[in-house]
Symmetry: C2
Amino acid sequence: MAKKKKATTESLSTEEKIKAAASAVFTRKGYAATRTRDIAEEAGMNLALLNYYFRSKEKLFEIVMVEKMTKFFSVVWGALENKSMTLEEKTSTVVENYIDLLSENPDLPIFILSEVRMNPAQFASRFSLAKVLESDFMKQIRKQHKGLHPLQFMMNLLGLVVFPFVMKPVLEQTKLLSEKDFKAQMAVRKKLIPKWMKAILATI
Amino acid sequence: MAKKKKATTESLSTEEKIKAAASAVFTRKGYAATRTRDIAEEAGMNLALLNYYFRSKEKLFEIVMVEKMTKFFSVVWGALENKSMTLEEKTSTVVENYIDLLSENPDLPIFILSEVRMNPAQFASRFSLAKVLESDFMKQIRKQHKGLHPLQFMMNLLGLVVFPFVMKPVLEQTKLLSEKDFKAQMAVRKKLIPKWMKAILATI
DNA sequence: CGCATATTTAATCATTTGATTAAAACCTTT
DNA sequence: AAAGGTTTTAATCAAATGATTAAATATGCG
């Protein structure tokens, strides 16, 4: 029943291939719309291997999900708690890192957001974002801008950075922006969002 | 085979009940995760009625989807093409209308965005957003702020307005904001976003 | 090699799920 | 109330889908 031992480098590679395929398909179509056969096909392997290496669709999903989430949050987390950067430096770093990450993984936001919506409880139990409120970043905002709830600032920052990627399918399908133009405009945003965030804070 | 005639007020009401239930469940769980039995249960009716009134799950979904989309776009559309409002007035109107709409329908954005991602082509064929680029709103932006792609402004506006609702499940599940606090902060944003948008434009 | 263990495959299962059907219940009209 | 239509129900179907199994193949080791 148990297969604790791993074996050749081949086998590990098979496992990795399945995980990579699962990651791609889950991210593209979401949990519910993904069939295990899709994953097997994408990986170019027999369906049964999926259950051999990862017990079930759900377990495989969980693994992929945690990896994606970790990736998504760690990008921002490093900058938020850095005590030697000014608020503006932190902002620039977050913007730059995020736009880079999302340019490589444009499906990531919708995927995470819709899966969290489908199962909010298990997300909360796994990722405690409360520490965000305690971060140095939030402290700086609180200190410099007494009136505003720090999450307002956070929502602005994420909205400006993430939302374009959420809209990407809409923009490209309606021909409002080609893939190339989108990339170019995101490069522009990298420079502009920090300035905009500064301007926003100055209004308060 | 055909049932062209409609009948009593009762029957219409049944049809409407099914559509309402479908709307609720589809919006909450997305197309793929929704089972026709979920809808029947939510409507408190026999499963077969669903196929009696609307041929198939897909057809029912399509109807719901078009209604949601129309709702979502018409809110913004009215303001965008109004020739007698200044850019700032248009912005305020869009912000206010959207925050009101989304407060009543917080699931709407994720639902639309993830379904569009699943089937971008049919979305594009049904909604031609190209006219957005021709709207009076866009013209004003182009005139007043030559350097910036008007879609940048649009992304900012929608990002600031819509993104908080997309994050809502995350914020509430992680206890960063209670439902009540969220509502309060959205009320704050109604006032602030127009100011922020103005400040953003001033930086260019 | 020859054995043991790990990996892979093809076939099959059980459940879920969208859809259909035939009969029952309900209305409306005469 | 009987006829003729519409609406609703319970039962059932066929296909899809996640999972398992038993046999086949490959791999490592003495």
